[in-house]
């Protein structure tokens, strides 16, 4: 058993090394256009990863992961315009959504809001932010130097400049940064799930009452998991703002919120890798469909979602894992029951 698990660890380490090498080498073999497309795929994969953790492992059906993504994007933009596109703006883009998630989570979890209302509240909060951001046009709506710009958003956001560098990141550098941060976030979450904290988060998803009767503070664990998900989504938002040098209220839109849920459902709840695969696959499909006029993209997305819910309810990753190892259990196997 130890042998098998050490073999497995080596396999994972090798896969990780391959991913890192791929991220570092990809800019040398692709043109800039493809690289930009890949970058945004990976940015969104990080957003998918955040919900994969919060929903798949924390059992918290958050319909408002877009809120944290958007807050991260806006926080970076405002920070970068006011005090330069450095590490401070990056940290701000993680801290603002994390604190916001913690506050929202405090009221939801300590108020013992049940799961369905949790979905409603998080969605409503996202749409409130959407309306709020939309109604900030005019020169009186500014934070420091940054004009919020209402419906038009904030253009020309300065691109991140890494410490020790004089010039902002080029597309190649941004791609590498995004790729490495995504790998770090994924590996970090995998490791976190093996700690006591991670195990208890999964236990709370499985049975909140039992976790409490064993002496674990379910509310605190949910709150921390939720805030961590918010932080990762915020980081994705920051990278998104860097990618397009632009952010508008669309980041808080209903379409954006719904997409994240679809990525997770298609990719497979209860895994971390699945939703990232689902995200990249769906974005690729949407891009491909965007090049033609025959079928409506939204219609195809709807069909894909319906097909997955009815035919492959577990999603891509758990289903594929099931083919290769019918007896093996992923870290979490409670996917059938959404809670």
């Amino acid at each position: 058993m130890t042998h098998a698990s050490s073999l497995r660890s080596w396999g994972l380490a090798a896969a990780g090394a391959l991913c890192v090498a791929g991220v570092l080498l990809a800019p040398q073999v692709t043109d800039t256009f493809a690289l930009l497309a890949l970058t945004v795929y990976l940015v969104m994969a990080m957003l998918a990863l955040s919900l994969a953790f919060v929903w798949g492992f924390g059992g918290i059906l958050c319909f408002g992961q877009a809120a944290f993504f958007g807050l991260g994007a806006y926080a970076y933009a405002i920070g970068a315009i006011n005090f330069g596109p450095g590490v401070a703006a990056l940290l701000l883009s993680v801290a603002v959504p994390a604190v916001f998630a913690a506050l929202l989570g405090y009221f939801m979890f300590y108020g013992r809001i049940s799961d369905v209302y949790l979905g409603v509240i998080t969605l409503a909060v996202t749409l409130i932010l959407f309306n709020l951001a939309n109604s900030t046009s005019g020169s009186e709506y500014r934070i420091g130097e940054a004009l919020l710009g209402g419906f038009n958003g904030i253009p020309s956001i300065p691109t991140l400049t890494l410490p020790g560098h004089d010039s902002p990141l080029e597309p190649e550098g941004l791609f590498r940064l995004v790729g490495l941060l995504l790998i770090a976030a994924y590996v970090g979450l995998r490791l976190l799930l093996r700690t006591r904290f991670g195990q208890v988060v999964v236990a709370v998803r499985e049975n909140e009452r039992r976790a409490e009767l064993l002496g674990y503070d379910a509310r605190l664990h949910k709150l921390l998991a939720f805030a961590l998900g918010g932080a990762i989504a915020g980081l994705a938002g920051c990278l998104y703002a860097n990618w397009g040098a632009f952010v508008n209220p669309g980041v808080f839109s209903l379409a954006q919120s719904a997409q994240i849920i679809i990525w997770v459902i298609v990719g497979g709840r209860g895994t971390l890798i699945g939703p990232m695969i689902g995200c990249v696959g769906i974005q690729w499909m949407v891009t491909a469909l965007g090049g033609q006029q025959t079928v409506d993209t939204g219609l195809v997305l709807g069909v894909v979602l319906a097909a997955f819910v009815m035919l492959i309810p577990r999603g891509i990753a758990p289903t594929v894992m099931g083919w290769f190892a019918p007896r093996a259990r992923p870290v979490a196997t409670g996917q059938e029951r959404v809670r």
Binding site: A203, R210, L213, G215, Y216, R329, E336
Partner: protein
């Protein structure tokens, strides 16, 4: 006589106009094995819920080792060393048996490694060796009850509250459960709620009879079953016997 481990004073709760538990004074000594019996709706489970923090009492107080615990959250009470098995098995259905036990053992053990060893040891003790990687949701009802008992064993509480631990079990399973409870009692004080008189006789502890949210009688099994008030309230006019057939209903 030493101070009681658990003590309630005028403890009660009402739902609407119904006094689920009226004013219960209950004393439990360290090391005791106590049975709570009473007809359906006598308030036994509600009483348990108040002891474990799942239900806030309207009135009265609960003391554990002299410390007032009524009003604390469920997880805070659990941390003081009170473990409870709920009436419907409350387990982590999506996780495997070892993961369930491990999560419980983590509470009492200093390290991951120690918790893992403890989980394996408990797996043997509850007779589920070989089923460690089975998903708890896929186990038979009786086995899920044992997983829950195992979790309580692994978390090493000072006081164990068991709500109908033998419900829906076959006769063979009931026997094994009674053995398990006596084993738990070696290290912990135990309170058991049960309907099954044969089972109560099997584990042979002191018996407290609940009726209509109040303590009706208290004493040894034989004293209690021969008490005419108990016969009236709980047993009707049926003669009390503990034949094995009675438990063989699963």
């Amino acid at each position: 006589m030493s101070a009681p481990l658990l003590q309630t004073r005028r403890l009660g709760v009402s739902f609407g106009g119904v006094h689920a538990v009226r004013e219960v004074d209950f004393d439990l000594a360290e090391g005791e094995l106590r049975c709570l019996i009473g007809p359906n709706g006598a308030g036994k489970s509600t009483f348990f819920k108040m002891l474990s923090g799942q239900q806030l009492p309207d009135r009265g107080e609960v003391f554990f080792r002299g410390r007032r615990i009524s009003g604390l959250a469920a997880h805070q009470i659990a941390r003081l060393g009170i473990g409870i098995k709920t009436q419907v098995p409350s387990v982590f259905d999506g996780l495997d048996v070892l993961q369930n036990l491990h999560l419980a053992a983590l509470r009492a053990q200093p390290s991951e490694r120690a918790a893992r060893a403890e989980a394996h040891a408990v797996l043997e003790r509850v007779g589920l060796a070989g089923r460690g990687d089975a998903r708890v949701g896929e186990l038979a009802h009786g086995q899920r009850q044992w997983v829950e008992l195992g979790m309580i064993l692994a978390s090493r509480p000072a006081l164990v509250l068991l709500d109908e631990p033998a419900a829906g079990m076959t006769h063979h399973e009931v026997r094994k459960t009674a053995e398990l409870i006596r084993e738990i009692n070696r290290a912990s004080t135990v309170v058991v709620v049960e309907h099954d008189m044969a089972f109560i006789r099997m584990i042979a502890g002191r018996v407290t009879v609940f009726n209509r949210g109040e303590v009706l009688a208290e004493g040894s099994f034989d004293d209690v079953v021969s008490d005419p008030r108990v016969r009236d309230a709980y047993l009707g006019n049926k003669p009390i016997h503990s034949s094995n057939q009675e438990t063989d209903h699963a």
